[in-house]
């Protein structure tokens, strides 16, 4: 293509202008978190704080409801790690069964899985709550974590797609050498699908970190609250004096998400482009 300076400039003005518009709210949130609470809206028009202060962060970090913000982060991490391990490993296990093994009824169960993928989870919200209430699981992380160990349809689908790209000659060679299916799975397939495991882990991390409905339903004590519920507490106690702290802790809650995004961007982009995740 010929080099056209005018067209080139116009292109970048449009693309960069749109990009700026997209991130402007986030930049505004970041800048506001360094302003004194009383000034946030008085000076909403001017982006850069006239004086930079850290007190919003120190005040916010002390937490709310009698617990420090560190507690909420720890609670979130426990939920994320336990649920992610369960979802990724069980999904890989199930995906191997669908992608590589021939058995009666496999296409039936595969169809069921694809329907589950599209099933609105609102339908199971009420009965699951009743079930967990009867099991005396309320006020524990079990209702949030345990179901993750039974495979997540999105991840199963993603991993099936991935396993199918691995040549099956590899399986056959291993089988001839006397390798059983379980060994085949964890010795040969698991290492080969590492990229898909990474993608699934990243998305599981995102979904669990931001999940609100699970904690709203099942966790009723501030000592167990994850970050999402802690932020909601800030909002419920919404007064002029703690806007700054709420903004600061909102930024803190986004840091791990953005950090993971920049660290693993390639996996994320591939995950979405190949399977339509999220």
């Amino acid at each position: 293509m010929r080099y056209k300076p005018l067209k080139w400039t116009l292109y970048h003005v449009i693309a960069a202008g749109g990009a700026l518009l997209m991130v402007y709210p986030v930049i505004w949130l970041l800048m506001s978190s360094f302003k004194p609470s009383a000034q946030i809206f008085q000076t909403a028009g001017s982006l850069i704080p006239s004086e930079w202060i850290w007190t919003n962060y120190s005040q916010g970090w002390q937490g709310i409801g009698g617990y420090g913000f560190g507690t909420f982060i720890k609670n979130s991490l426990v939920l994320v790690v336990l649920a992610t391990i369960g979802a990724v490993l069980s999904s890989a296990f199930v995906a191997f069964g669908f992608a590589r093994l021939k058995f009666f009824g496999s296409s039936f169960w595969f169809a069921i899985m694809m329907v589950t993928l599209m099933l609105p989870h609102d339908v199971t919200l009420v009965p699951q709550y009743i079930m967990f209430a009867k099991m005396d699981w309320l006020n524990s992380i079990k209702p949030i974590v345990v179901p993750a160990y039974f495979g997540a349809p999105f991840f199963i689908f993603l991993m099936i797609q991935f396993i199918r790209t691995i040549p099956s000659e590899l399986d056959e060679a291993a089988t001839i050498d006397g390798c059983g299916k379980f060994r085949l799975f964890y010795r040969i397939i698991i290492p080969l699908i590492a990229p898909a495991l990474a993608t699934a882990s990243i998305f599981s991390f995102y979904w669990r970190w931001e999940d609100l409905i699970g904690p709203v339903l099942y966790l009723n004590k501030p000592s167990m609250y994850p970050v999402s519920m802690a932020l909601k507490m800030y909002l419920d106690a919404d007064t002029l004096s703690n806007w700054g702290a709420m903004f600061a802790m909102s930024i803190v809650s986004l840091v791990p998400v953005v950090a993971v995004f920049f660290a693993f961007q390639k996996h994320i982009v591939e995950g979405i482009s190949t399977s339509g995740l999220k």
Partner: protein, 297 residues
């Protein structure tokens, strides 16, 4: 014969987590939910069979139900098409070899990554505040401030704009699709003298329709289920004047604020049927608008 049996068992052993999870966490709860929808149940006393009363109340007596269905349909049918339109427009803009494209792609995608979080809903609440940056922007262009939290439709627009802001994941999917369109098609069209508009409607759009079908279905279902932003932006109430009372939020309030579990279950089943109908319509009409390689066209 023994080997065949063993193969069957191994297969089921591998998919057993899904099968058990499906039965315990999805199939049985769904059946229970269907039963409860014909009962009055508050979790503490045993369910009382009331036949179709929940459904009658929903359709004929509960104006809040119709309001929540209305705002949800507006939310879905404004939000999803706008989101897909932005996604496609920006994907086409970024489908060039320019060096900065990677950076742009990252920035446009970032909102999708953080968009579902409580932090972003709080941020959204504040940029639409009376003194927030949205009103600042309106004033800059000489438009009067809007009181976003006083007008039902203005408040719903906050939710729609938050959903559109997260067009990045669809954009990535479209970008992948655009890269798969053979450039010979465009070259041939160029030789035939087709202009940019013609090329878009005759090549780009038809070639993307298979991706669009899948994308539209998932986005529509996701939009129907939106909960967090409505819950955070309206502080759990769905106000003003039920303007942000999305279906999931109303269902949540019926089930877990008023503890009317029977009614909430009936709502869930109607939602399931609505979603199933939309999915069926999209699939059934797909042969008219989805372009498949194998066919002539």
């Amino acid at each position: 014969m023994r080997v065949a049996w063993k193969n069957q068992l191994t297969g089921y052993a591998f998919i057993s987590p899904f099968v058990i999870g499906f039965l315990v966490f999805i199939l049985v709860p769904s059946c229970v939910s269907l039963y409860l929808s014909f009962t009055s149940y508050d979790l503490f006393t045993s369910p009382r069979w009331i036949g179709l009363d929940n459904y009658k109340e929903m359709f004929f007596e509960d104006s809040k139900y119709w309001q929540s269905l209305k705002v949800t349909l507006i939310y879905v049918f404004m939000g999803v098409p706008l989101r897909l339109a932005f996604a496609l427009a920006i994907a086409m803009l970024l489908n060039t070899a320019a060096k900065a494209v990677g950076v742009y792609r990252t920035i446009y995608y970032l909102p999708s990554i953080i968009g579902g979080s409580v932090a972003v809903s709080i941020m959204w609440r504040n940029i639409y505040g009376d003194e927030g940056i949205i009103n600042g922007l309106l004033n800059f262009f000489g438009v009067d401030s809007v009181r976003w939290f006083a007008e039902p439709f203005a408040a719903l627009w906050m939710l729609i704009s938050l959903s559109v802001w997260q067009f990045g994941s669809s954009m990535l999917i479209f970008l992948a699709g655009l890269k798969n369109i053979p450039s010979e098609l465009y070259e041939a069209a160029g030789v035939d003298g087709a202009g940019a508009v013609r090329r878009f409607f005759s090549i780009t759009l038809p070639m993307l329709t298979p991706i669009m079908l899948f994308n539209t279905i998932l986005q529509t279902i996701g939009a129907f289920l939106t909960f967090t932003p409505a819950y955070i932006i309206s502080k759990g109430e769905g106000g003003p004047l039920d303007g942000t009372l999305l279906y999931s939020l109303y269902l949540f309030r019926q089930g877990f604020v008023y503890f009317d579990m029977g009614y909430a279950s009936a709502m869930a089943w109607v939602m399931l049927i609505i979603v199933a109908i939309f999915t069926a319509i999209l699939f059934a009409t797909s042969k008219f608008w989805v372009h498949y390689e194998s066919k002539e066209g």
